[in-house]
Symmetry: C2
């Protein structure tokens, strides 16, 4: 199953770091790519592209003028992460059972009302307020059942050799 | 086992929203409270206190002048989350097996070198760059084995009735 993340309502000034964290978490926890709506932000796209260049894999980011059009045109299923949705632990098996490509939409406290109706599933990762970053990561971790933790990223320039203490980063030259 | 989160190196201007997300994720995923170092930030503390007032539970936040002093004085074990550490899936059972209170330290890319030596465990949630918010949430989710998703928060003013579509928030009056 492939997963693409939809980050709705990005505002370059206010959300730069949070959107970067959302997109990097999407990549680290196994999404293939991401689409964001709201204001177009070349710096956001460049920042993520630099991480991908260094750390490998094929994660891509693109902007959409309309999250609604993206959701309606999606050939697969849409999972909207919201604290108001059904508990992830109750629906994750059903979501995993379908192999259709998933669009995982994350907004924020002001998610547009219409997404609740357009989504195949509205899913909550706890019914408590926290963060789109943590909701997305835990959702993907549960969707992939921890296999995402073992994932390797091809063609990386940098990679880490895990250590009990200190840091060990390998730098590989690319052709 | 009780968990307290240590958020190191907070900068009020730059980190306000990310630190808020770290602290809310700590609360939502089962930590008892949090300590933060860096600049003291009454607004950060007030923001989290307002969430606790609305959504219940006893989560507390306090500032420390010295993360080092806090770590050295900790009566229990210290888990430092860092992309350079040992894979969480390899060490989580060992960490869970000890019932001692845990201090879970999260920093950021510029975590002070000394924390690597002072920590009982340096733990990575993937060896990829993402976010202290996602690392913390997935770590706590694995530590508590998903039981944190069922947690209820006492004395809440607001609570959510999970729904497949739309929003259903209950407002309870407190005495």
């Amino acid at each position: 199953m492939t997963v693409t993340v939809l980050r709705m309502g990005h505002r370059p000034q206010r959300d730069k770091r949070l959107s970067t964290h959302v997109l990097l978490a999407a990549r680290a926890f196994g999404a293939e790519g991401a689409i964001y709506s709201g204001a177009m932000d070349p710096r956001l796209e460049e920042t993520v592209a630099e991480f991908v260049e260094d750390w490998g894999g094929g994660f891509t980011v693109r902007h959409t003028e309309s999250w609604r059009a993206t959701v309606k045109a999606w050939r697969g299923e849409v999972v909207h992460l919201t604290m108001y949705g059904l508990p992830v632990q109750q629906v994750i098996q059903e979501i995993r059972a379908s192999s259709k490509p998933k669009l995982v939409a994350v907004g924020g406290p002001k998610a547009p009302r219409e997404i609740y109706d357009l989504a195949t599933w509205n899913v909550s990762v706890t019914s408590q307020p926290h963060s789109e970053v943590s909701a997305l990561a835990v959702f993907l971790h549960m969707l992939f059942e921890g296999t995402e933790l073992e994932r390797s990223f091809e063609d990386a320039r940098l990679s880490i050799k895990p250590r009990g203490h200190g840091k060990d980063v390998k730098t590989l030259s690319k052709d």
